[in-house]
């Protein structure tokens, strides 16, 4: 068995342990309803930040339209489960596929733009998606879509999250992922080495959009109602904050970023008037002292102490 497969098994094993502990605590009532909901949201946010990291962190393309893809997945998902009574899994996959298709269609022309121009174009596209949804009466327009079945359970969010992390991790470690990283490091040099830059940018963008769509589906089935105002560009900013806070191009960073951001905003929920002020200050201070994010470009497994533990624990 090669190392990549071994690492996957390790990740799955670790995931199952974490899952069992959390699930146990939930059934025993050690985690109240408020924190249970927040654990759901943390898992969904990890999916979103990991998929955005693939675009922004690994491929180096500045996308600010993630909430738009999430909205597409959410709305396709809820229409399929509520109006057509599709099974949840199929609805999630269909939502992801719709977001991926849109991501691919949008990515082809816009990924020619670079840097800040791409950022503002994707931000605009996200807003256009939201405004179009707001004007479709079939899905409730600005008032929102109501009567959604509550299908998202803890195993769903947790294992979809685990699946996302494994896919993103293996993609990044594959030939395609290396091509994406090459584009991030230097687009011209990558092209000179024979990397088809447009192709890989669109692939990364499409995969990112697909997972955003799936996360949207999970998010929508957590509550009984969704409306377009949950998917504004402020949400895209939020996911960007998670990615940058954790560290661009670090998957463990994305997990940490999603966790920290969601945790801070949940913990401050009892002081609504100071919540955003403290959050803003935390953000600014973090950027002062860790401009590269919590993890920088490093994964947790590459940090010295863990490497040393591995060496000591190794039999060979």
């Amino acid at each position: 068995m090669n190392t990549i497969r071994k690492n996957d098994l390790l990740l799955i094993g670790l995931g199952i342990v974490v899952f069992a502990v959390l699930q146990g605590m939930m059934t025993e009532g050690l985690i109240g309803a408020f924190w249970k909901l927040n654990i759901f949201i943390i898992c969904i946010n990890i999916i979103l930040s990991a998929s955005l990291n693939l675009i922004n962190g690994y491929t180096g393309q500045f996308s600010l339209g993630h909430a738009g893809f999430m909205a597409v997945g959410a709305y396709v998902g809820v229409v399929l489960t509520t109006n057509f009574h599709w099974p949840f899994l199929l609805a999630l996959v269909a939502g992801g596929a719709a977001a991926a298709l849109l991501g691919c269609l949008i990515g082809l022309p816009t990924l020619r733009l670079n840097g800040d121009y791409l950022a503002i174009a994707t931000l605009g596209l996200g807003e256009i998606i939201r405004i179009v949804i707001m004007n479709i009466q079939y899905v409730g327009g600005a008032a929102g879509f109501t009567g959604i079945p509550h299908l998202t359970t803890f195993p769903w969010v947790f294992f979809v999250m685990l699946f996302t992390l494994i896919v993103v991790k293996n993609f990044v470690n594959s030939t395609h992922g290396r091509a994406c990283i090459a584009i991030r490091e230097n687009e011209i040099a990558a092209e000179a080495m024979g990397v088809n830059t447009t192709k890989y940018k669109v692939i990364a963008f499409t995969i990112g959009a697909a997972f955003a769509g799936v996360a949207g589906g999970l998010f929508a089935h957590c509550f009984y109602i969704i409306n377009p105002s949950s998917f504004t560009f402020m949400q895209s900013f939020n996911y960007l904050i998670m990615v940058v806070m954790g560290g661009l191009g670090s998957l463990t960073g994305s997990i940490a970023g999603a966790f920290v951001v969601t945790f801070i905003s949940a913990a401050l929920a009892s002081w609504p008037e100071f919540r955003m002020i403290i959050y803003a200050l935390a953000l600014i201070l973090l950027m002062f002292y860790r401009p590269q994010g919590l993890f920088g470009y490093i994964e947790l497994t590459q940090i010295g102490i863990i490497q040393r533990l591995k060496l000591k624990g190794g039999h060979k």
């Binding site: 800040d116 807003e127 900013f237 950027m287 401009p291 590269q292």
Partner: protein, 295 residues
């Protein structure tokens, strides 16, 4: 009202809205031109400007022009303070961290003002009797004339500062190449600080004018116009002053026409759609120069 006169009427409304976008966009484009930062807090600086104008009129009972000047000076200083405290320590940091800091500053300004002035919208006092001039079947009201006049004066002053004065020359030099400018003896930090001051003062003027035009201000009023102004700056070619002016006016006119003839719910979508179309065919904006990327 027939089609032609309705068109002209929407055009007038569009130009007044566009002038406001242009004023905010100028600050965006100047700051971007000089330190390559999308200053997402700029929309909130505009909101603060509107509130300072509001308090100047209601509390110290000055008329509109002194209120405008007070607001511009105070907000200009606030912009310099924000730059000094939040962006200057990050001069060597990756650009994306500065961007996240800008988002943080934006949240900070929004919610701190919400804490101090309460989230409910305030009615901006009527500063002068509503006069309106009728030209045939369409009309221009006093507020619109005020917007045209102030915007025109500010743009002339800004063009003079940037093109003719010593500090303007230094600003152009720094935006061209920071390191070389420093080698020529220009104090880049001072120039950047002044750029933030001027940009914030322009945004404050826009804020006061919006208060006069729409009669209502609230702590989150800066989000959408801030974003639109950035769209305007990119539309015209970011970093180029006439581009920001043109981009703002075009955006305002398009929005007015779309909300007048199609539907006001689509006006934001129209603004973004136009932006994307322009970028696809001319990636550096309408007035931007196509620069070849060098290896």
């Amino acid at each position: 009202m027939d089609f032609a006169s309705q068109f002209v009427q929407q055009l007038i409304n569009g130009i007044s809205l566009g002038s406001i976008y242009a004023l905010i966009a100028l600050g965006y484009t100047m700051i971007y031109g000089i330190i390559k930062l999308i200053n997402f807090a700029h929309g909130d600086i505009y909101m603060v400007g509107a509130y300072i104008g509001f308090f100047a009129i209601t509390m110290i009972h000055v008329s509109i022009v002194p209120a405008l000047l007070i607001s511009m000076v105070v907000t200009g200083l606030l912009g310099m303070l924000v730059e000094r405290l939040a962006y200057k320590p990050l001069r060597q940091a990756p650009r994306i961290s500065v961007l996240i800091t800008a988002i943080g500053v934006s949240f900070f300004l929004e919610y701190t003002s919400m804490y101090f002035v309460s989230p409910t919208p305030r009615t901006f006092p009527a500063v002068f009797d509503n006069v309106s001039l009728h030209f045939g079947s369409f009309m221009v009201n006093g507020q619109q004339l005020l917007i045209f006049g102030i915007t025109f004066i500010l743009m002339v002053v800004l063009t003079y500062i940037v093109q003719k004065t010593k500090i303007g020359k230094a600003m152009r030099a720094v935006s061209f190449d920071v390191e070389t400018a420093q080698l020529m003896g220009i104090d880049a930090d001072r120039v950047i600080s002044i750029t933030f001051g001027i940009g914030s003062a322009l945004a404050a003027a826009a804020g006061v004018l919006v208060g006069v035009y729409y009669n209502s201000i609230d702590p989150l009023m800066g989000i959408m116009p801030g974003l639109k102004a950035f769209v305007a700056a990119v539309l015209g070619g970011i970093g180029i002053l006439p581009g920001a002016m043109a981009g703002g006016l075009i955006l305002g006119v398009i929005e007015a026409l779309v909300s007048g003839f199609i539907s006001s719910t689509f006006r934001d979508a129209a603004a973004f759609a136009i932006l994307i179309l322009v970028l696809l065919f001319k990636p550096s904006g309408l007035l931007g120069k196509n620069t070849r990327e060098k290896v």
